[in-house]
């Protein structure tokens, strides 16, 4: 549906305001329903300092569905679980020990 058609149906005359509200509505829909689902991939770095387990959410992500890690044995991405309680280890710069 064109922006103009939406404006006419809603009785709006200000285009910029209508576009701003349409953007708000799309955000609201995408926050509640899985209409436009996307995936983002990023590399994992072997930890060597205190920030090497931190990965930022994609900036245009609205609602998280799942997080997966690549199984390098069979090349498949497998969903991982979220831990509920804070781990006892707060910082780990030597993960092999």
């Amino acid at each position: 549906m064109k922006v103009l058609e939406i404006m006419e149906r809603a009785g709006m005359k200000e285009t910029n305001l209508a576009i701003a509200w349409i953007k708000d509505a799309i955000n609201l829909v995408q926050s509640q329903y899985d209409d436009n689902v996307a995936t983002w991939k990023t590399g994992i770095t072997k930890a060597s300092d205190s920030v090497d387990n931190k990965y930022a959410f994609p900036s245009n992500l609205l609602k998280l569905k799942s997080i997966s890690i690549k199984d390098t044995d069979d090349g498949k991405y497998k969903k991982i679980r979220r831990i509920v309680h804070d781990p006892v280890v707060v910082e780990d710069t030597d993960p092999n020990n």
């Binding site: 549906m1 809603a10 509505a25 689902v37 387990n53 931190k54 998280l64 991405y77 280890v89 092999n96």
Partner: protein, 161 residues
Amino acid sequence: MSRNTNLTWVYQVVGRNIELWEITKGGKVETLGDYKIRLPDESVGTQLVYPTETIDAGLMFEGTAYIEPFVVEDPNELTGGSANPDLTDDSTSPDEDSHVNMNRMFSLAIVDYIKAMNADSKGDLQRKEYYMREFWKKSSDAQSNKFGVFMTSPSSIYSVV
């Protein structure tokens, strides 16, 4: 080499980041070639550690996104009557001729949202609430239309004679 990552990795949400943890059982781990070997000298039970290896494109997020909200083509019309249209992003400077990149039912819900916001700006809260209800009703219909859930109930026993 990471195996059974669904069992050996977990994450935690911290603000706008996630923190990745690997689950290890036992004590010291050494890497031999592509394999990780747990040494028998110490045992500390199950614990969480930072990622122990580098994996190219190893982390995948899946979720809804604000992608191409406005497009040039009508996303609800097939090209040549059979193929899905190739959509061109028109989000940098949308105008009245841009199409909203949603199906028709979601677009009708957006019409109700705009009516609600219009009523809100005029201080007519009763009308706003009415149109917001309509917005959520149409959004729910648009979403449930994708799943095709049909309810059936058994018919009661009857006799012809």
